[in-house]
């Protein structure tokens, strides 16, 4: 293939007509049943003779709504259905594809900005109004609104050309009734249903909405890293090319290596693996080295609990990594590159391997890439499941076939890395940004974000948040916006207590700091870190001491055992926390925790040990009350630390309904309606079920 051919492929694709459906088939989708959905659609389409292409794609980030199916049919706006099952699959074909009739109750729509993407003309196709009541208590009368709207459309004669569809998720939350008009992608929110109705009428009559009704400047996602994930078939190099793939490479190969680094410098991209070290500095250091051989490694050894951004990128958009690495290789003068991927990511491994094979076949890798005279090839290496192998020097040791243990720096890998040669190791997410930066320029990237943290960051939002999944946001949004405006707020009416960022190396950030805008430096100043992008939302049912213990336990399990502060310090701290959470705290515990934290932080060799105490330090700082309750009052307010909780029935409040008796799994509650009910402390396993089910607040937790 030559660069001229790319244009032809893109033109050919844009001229293609015909309907298609895409099924999200990344690990998350497959786990939720996407394979069944895919098979069902394929077989149904064949049975019914429906003229439709069925495609596979990666993760769109809406893991909470999997399996996801996107439907495209000429003359209709594209729509995404979530929570699809085999039954819904059938209706997607019979109703949507065959009868142009959108399904109620399944449509989902993300609130996403896609920088530097052309909007496709939407003239003359069917209008769809996606409606949803986004108030948390479902107080708005959506049914009435729907009814009114339908009859009003009928009256005005729009019936048939416009469809009102009840959506499941519109990416806007807590704004009462929200209407999203497809294909225009206009969102109306924040007004009474009457106002909205009037506005829609005006839209239908004049073709315009009153400005004040349109939702503007609402926090939304911004997709650079995930730009193709969930849109392209990760197995198809043509799909990637159609989305603008390899445009960045074309630029990179046409200029001097120095110019690539200049562009990276302009972009001010900081490493997304956790450290936040400027990528261009790393590249410059390696580029300056005189060496017959240099290497570039893509670090796909993602290991933070609850974080899976890198997996999604590798599964959903592997070609962008191939392109990013080739650009990086060109910049530093490497002729060989490696993906280091943890073995627990089989789908990512397959897709990356396939992408390398295809790119090689088409001339994007190998000798004389695209006639440029530049040689570069790629290989995959598997990590055997040690968290510490995400650390650069341990990763290199692991690739050398040695035990994955960090070694002191300097020498830095950019000077002496793999096989002692200059090596640049970049995280998956960092490299996924590179093609965008080369395609649209460093300035386009640095126009986004904050002063010292440019561009976007992908977070895997999990925990007690309503919509757990991947979100990519522009740096500078606040934590609150991410949780409430993008993540859909707290699930099941829970009250937010804290957000944990940065995985085991990070810390907890309490509710009163949620208005902090997200950047490398702001999170650090709060005692946490950006890390690789884990973001775990916690509510009142989470015990902060227990959470700190969880993360510390992780670090203790994953410590390579090399350096004493980490190996022994972590273990000692864990024993102290184990004692505290089981009600056996001792007077010197706080002082010891602080002393060990300091020693680990300053005297550990690698990032794992240096940051391992962060979870404990931030807990003791922000949740001093809870720590004190555990150590001095023998009480765990969240009820997680079983030894520190007891349940009692307050007889005055008890209405003798007997619900607690029914739910107690160990028959610890006895008594009758006359005498009242009592908990037998010896039998009670402190599961808290009675507390949860009691409607009268008659169970006292203390």
């Amino acid at each position: 293939m030559k660069f001229e051919d790319l244009k032809k492929i893109r033109e050919k694709a844009s001229s293609e007509k015909g309907a298609w459906v895409k099924v999200g088939m990344s690990t998350c989708g497959i786990a939720a049943g996407a394979e069944k959905v895919y098979d069902r659609i394929v077989s149904l389409a064949a049975d019914r003779g429906t003229d439709i292409k069925v495609k596979k794609t990666g993760c769109l980030g809406m893991c909470y709504a999997e399996p996801l199916v996107e439907v495209h049919k000429p003359g209709l706006p594209d729509v995404l259905y979530g929570w699809v099952n085999e039954e819904t699959s059938g209706r997607i074909l019979s109703d949507h594809v065959e009868r142009d009739w959108f399904l109620n109750g399944h449509a989902v729509s993300l609130n996403i900005k896609r920088p530097h993407e052309k909007t496709v003309s939407v003239e003359g196709i069917k209008k769809v109004f996606l409606i949803r009541d986004t108030s948390s208590d479902n107080s708005s009368k959506l049914r009435d609104f729907h009814h009114h709207l339908v009859s009003s459309l009928k009256e005005k004669g729009f019936d048939g050309r416009i469809q009102i569809v009840r959506a499941r998720d519109l990416g806007v939350y807590n704004k009462g009734i929200v209407v999203k008009i497809l294909p225009d992608n206009i969102v109306m929110a924040g007004a009474s249903s009457d106002d909205i109705e009037k506005a829609i009428n005006s839209y239908l009559e004049k073709g315009r909405l009153p400005e004040e009704m349109i939702l503007k400047n609402h926090p939304s996602q911004t997709r650079i890293v995930l730009r193709n994930s969930g849109r392209i078939d990760p197995g198809s190099i043509e799909d990637y090319i159609v989305q603008g793939g390899f445009t960045g490479l074309e630029k990179a190969l046409s200029g001097k290596p120095r110019e690539i680094i200049d562009e990276m410098k302009k972009s001010a991209l900081r490493g997304r693996g956790g450290g936040g070290y400027p990528a261009w500095l790393k590249w410059t250091a390696a580029a300056k080295e005189e060496s017959s051989e240099k290497y570039i490694i893509c670090n796909g050894d993602e290991g933070d609990p609850g974080a899976y951004m890198d997996r999604s990128v590798m599964e959903g958009d592997p070609y962008s990594l191939v392109e990013g690495m080739t650009i990086a290789a060109r910049a530093i003068g490497a002729s060989h590159g490696f993906f280091y991927i943890r073995a627990e990511y089989p789908i990512a491994i397959d897709r990356v391997k396939n992408a390398i094979k295809r790119a090689d076949e088409e001339g994007f890798l190998g000798k004389n890439i695209m006639g440029s005279g530049f040689d570069f090839d790629l290989e995959v290496r598997l990590g055997a499941g040690a968290f510490v192998c995400g650390e650069e020097t341990a990763l290199i040791a692991s690739m050398h076939g040695k035990r994955g243990m960090p070694v002191p720096k300097p020498p830095y890998p950019s000077h002496s890395g793999l096989w002692g040669k200059p090596t640049v190791i970049n995280n998956v997410e960092s490299l996924a940004n590179v093609p965008f930066i080369m395609q649209h320029g460093g300035d386009a990237f640095s126009s986004m974000g904050t002063d010292r943290s440019k561009g976007t960051k992908v977070f895997s939002l999990t925990g007690k948040v309503a919509n757990s999944g991947l979100v990519e946001i522009e740096m500078g949004l606040t934590l609150r916006q991410v949780v409430f405006d993008i993540g859909g707020g707290m699930g099941f009416g829970a009250k937010i207590k804290a957000v944990q960022t940065g995985g085991p190396s990070g810390g907890v950030i309490p509710e009163n700091f949620l208005d902090t805008s997200i950047s490398f430096d702001s999170l650090k100043s709060l005692g946490s870190i950006m890390g690789s992008g884990g973001m775990i939302v916690m509510d009142e049912s989470d015990c902060m001491v227990d959470i700190a213990k969880f993360y510390l336990q992780f670090c203790v399990d994953e410590s390579c055992g090399k350096c004493a502060p980490c190996r022994i310090g972590g273990y000692q701290m864990l024993q102290i926390l184990n004692r505290i959470t089981s009600g056996n705290s001792e007077p010197g515990d706080k002082r010891k925790l602080q002393a060990i934290s300091l020693a680990m932080g300053k005297a550990s060799l690698c990032g794992l040990g240096q940051t391992a105490p962060n979870s404990v330090i931030s807990m003791m700082h922000y949740f001093a009350d809870e720590y004190k309750e555990h150590t001095e009052e023998g009480f765990c307010r969240a009820g997680k630390c079983k030894s520190l909780v007891s349940y009692r029935i307050v007889q005055d409040k008890c209405k003798r309904c007997g619900l607690c008796v029914k739910h107690c799994p160990v028959n610890a509650i006895s008594g009758d309606r006359e005498k009242g009910y009592f908990i037998d402390f010896k039998k009670c396993v402190k599961c808290g079920k009675c507390f949860d089910v009691c409607k009268f607040g008659a169970i006292l937790k203390k």
Partner: protein
């Protein structure tokens, strides 16, 4: 060399680029404490004791492995740094048993010394020990994982200096431990018993297998006739255990001390070395003149090298000298020749060897040929460290002892015999005698400076009757590969061998740097110890093994001639391939 200027604790330092902060600090009289660092080895940077602060950055660096950079401002002893070091040390101690009084390293332990320096008086952290049993399967060294602080020196020395790869880190986190890979005993591993791990261990986690009680028992037994021999390298290092500067030759005092310990006769392994040379040089001459065996001839005085070769290079067995090592030769002669001459029942002779080496403990039971006298030729081997302890225990004021000589028949040695203790020494001694054997006259210039000193591989050539003899000397097993593979390649191709004669010693510096020598060995120390042996050689009237009158006597009265029937029976051995891992 580029210079860097920096400030350490407010004091200006100017030094060469690449100097570590640790070494740069010494220039301004600042001692940064260390634990895992050993001057012989690359820093593993594992303990975290040597951290220093870069002023104004909040950054902490490891002084042992971070080069000083231009313009750096380093603080080494702020209250915070000292507090952190103390915590780290207390953490290490919380993972280390408190049985210092019963430990082989009591009073000589780097961890103990550090704890003393820091004035640790309380146990702030509860003790959590790893419950792992000792491994004394080799009978030469004892691995006690509980005492291990995981500095990694042993792993480093075993892999990178000795190329044996017997030791690995197993498991991870708090359970990490040092052991042969695959949950096996050391005896079943590729371990060649060189003991370099024990010589480099900062604590009592790897120590020599202690045979002193065996020797005490023999000394107490009135039926036993106890004899003892000292290896060349011991005399140059024993002083370090008694406060002498390194490199003082204490042969006379050591003979005296041994006598006072109760040994009935004191011999010198250097005499055995002279006999070894008679045999080995004859063997060489025979091969060189095309009368038997392939070239190169490879020396076999070092049992770790023998073990290594049997495991890793067994295809080279035909090149090995069949001659036993000097102490084995002395052992067999004491239970045959000496016993006969002095009319002592050899069954009653108890022979102890004082060696710089742990591997000799293995050698004495290596094969049946080590009992050529009809009895086990050597009954017990003690390292330099063990004999020093016995001298202390016996209340002998070593430093004040009058000197004495060795006992007759097996005690007189030539200058050639004593340089066996240093790398290159065996070769030099052999060449002196080989020259004589070929030409019938002694060399005039007998100091082979090319093959002395510490380069890992040394090569030289001498001309004998117009024929060039190419020799190579390697020490530190990692350096062996070069000379062996070169020879192997030539042999396979049927070409002229690159070397005719190769000397190998397993330990760096040869026996002076042996695994049983006093702790703290560095290149500087190796040089000083070797120098003591070379000056002993210089001071000797007789500097050729074949000129040693006692050697002549033993051949005349007892052995017959070198490589003769009796010599072969008593003083030669065979080798066999051994598996790296026993099942």
């Amino acid at each position: 060399m580029k210079k860097v200027k920096a400030v350490i604790n407010g004091l200006l330092v100017e030094t060469e680029q690449g100097t570590t902060i640790l070494d740069a600090a010494k220039l301004v009289q600042v001692k940064i404490p260390t634990l895992c660092k050993h001057p012989d080895l690359i820093s593993s940077a594992s303990c975290g004791i040597c951290i220093v602060e870069v002023e104004g950055t909040g950054k902490y660096l490891r002084a042992c492995c971070t080069p000083l950079e231009d313009g750096m401002k380093i603080n080494t002893h702020t209250p915070e740094i000292v507090a952190i070091r103390r915590t780290v040390l207390e953490l290490i101690l919380s993972n280390h048993p408190n049985d210092c009084l019963q430990c082989g390293r009591n009073n000589n332990c780097e961890l103990q010394r550090l704890a003393a320096d820091f004035g640790i008086r309380d146990e702030d952290f509860p003790k959590y020990l790893r419950d792992i049993p000792k491994d004394d399967s080799t009978g030469t060294i004892v691995l006690d994982p509980q005492k291990c602080i995981l500095c990694g020196r042993c792993v480093d020395v075993c892999r990178n200096v000795q190329n044996v790869w017997a030791l690995s880190f197993l498991e991870r986190g708090f359970s990490t431990r040092i052991s042969p890979a695959g949950e096996i005993d050391l005896a079943d591993s590729p371990c060649v018993r060189c003991g370099q791990c024990s010589a480099h261990c900062p604590t009592g986690a790897i120590v020599e297998y202690d045979h002193t009680s065996e020797v005490w028992d023999a000394l107490k037994d009135p039926d036993k006739f106890c004899v003892v021999q000292i290896a060349p390298a011991v005399r140059a290092a024993i002083g370090e255990a008694f406060g002498y500067e390194p490199g003082v030759n204490l042969t006379g005092k050591l003979y005296q001390a041994l006598k006072r310990l109760g040994f009935d006769a004191v011999f010198d392994t250097s005499f055995g070395a002279d006999v070894t040379i008679m045999e080995e040089a004859s063997e060489f001459v025979k091969r060189f003149t095309g009368e038997g065996g392939p070239l190169p001839l490879i020396t076999t005085c070092c049992p770790s090298w023998v073990d290594f070769m049997e495991k890793f290079e067994s295809d080279m067995i035909p090149c090995f000298s069949s001659c036993k090592s000097p102490h084995e030769i002395l052992g067999v002669l004491s239970k045959t020749y000496y016993a006969e001459k002095n009319k002592i029942d050899p069954a009653k002779i108890y022979m102890a060897s004082i060696m710089p080496c742990t591997s000799k403990k293995y050698e004495i039971k290596r094969s049946d040929e080590m009992s050529a006298s009809g009895y086990q030729d050597i009954d017990s081997v003690l390292t330099t460290r063990e004999i020093a302890r016995m001298i202390y225990q016996a209340g002998i004021k070593f430093n004040e002892l009058p000197e004495r000589g060795a006992d007759s028949l097996l005690g007189e040695y030539s200058g050639a015999g004593v340089i066996f203790g240093s790398t290159g020494g065996v070769m030099e001694a052999a060449l002196r005698t080989a020259y004589y054997m070929i030409t019938g006259s002694n060399l005039e210039k007998i100091d082979f400076k090319d093959i002395r000193g510490l380069p890992g591989v040394k090569e030289s050539e001498i001309k004998i009757q117009g024929k060039k003899i190419r020799v190579a000397v390697a020490h530190g097993l990692a350096n062996v590969e070069h000379v062996i593979s070169k020879s192997r390649k030539a042999m396979a191709a049927g070409e002229e061998p690159p070397y005719h004669f190769i000397e190998v010693m397993a330990c760096l510096g040869g026996c002076v740097g042996g695994g049983g020598q006093p702790y703290g060995v560095t290149d500087e120390l190796r040089k000083k110890r070797a120098a003591a042996l070379y000056s002993d050689d210089l001071s000797k009237k007789i500097r050729f093994s074949h000129d040693n009158p006692d050697v002549k006597k033993v051949y005349k009265d007892f052995l017959g001639e070198p490589l003769g029937e009796k010599s072969e029976k008593l003083m030669h051995t065979r080798y066999k391939a051994r598996p790296l891992y026993k099942k």
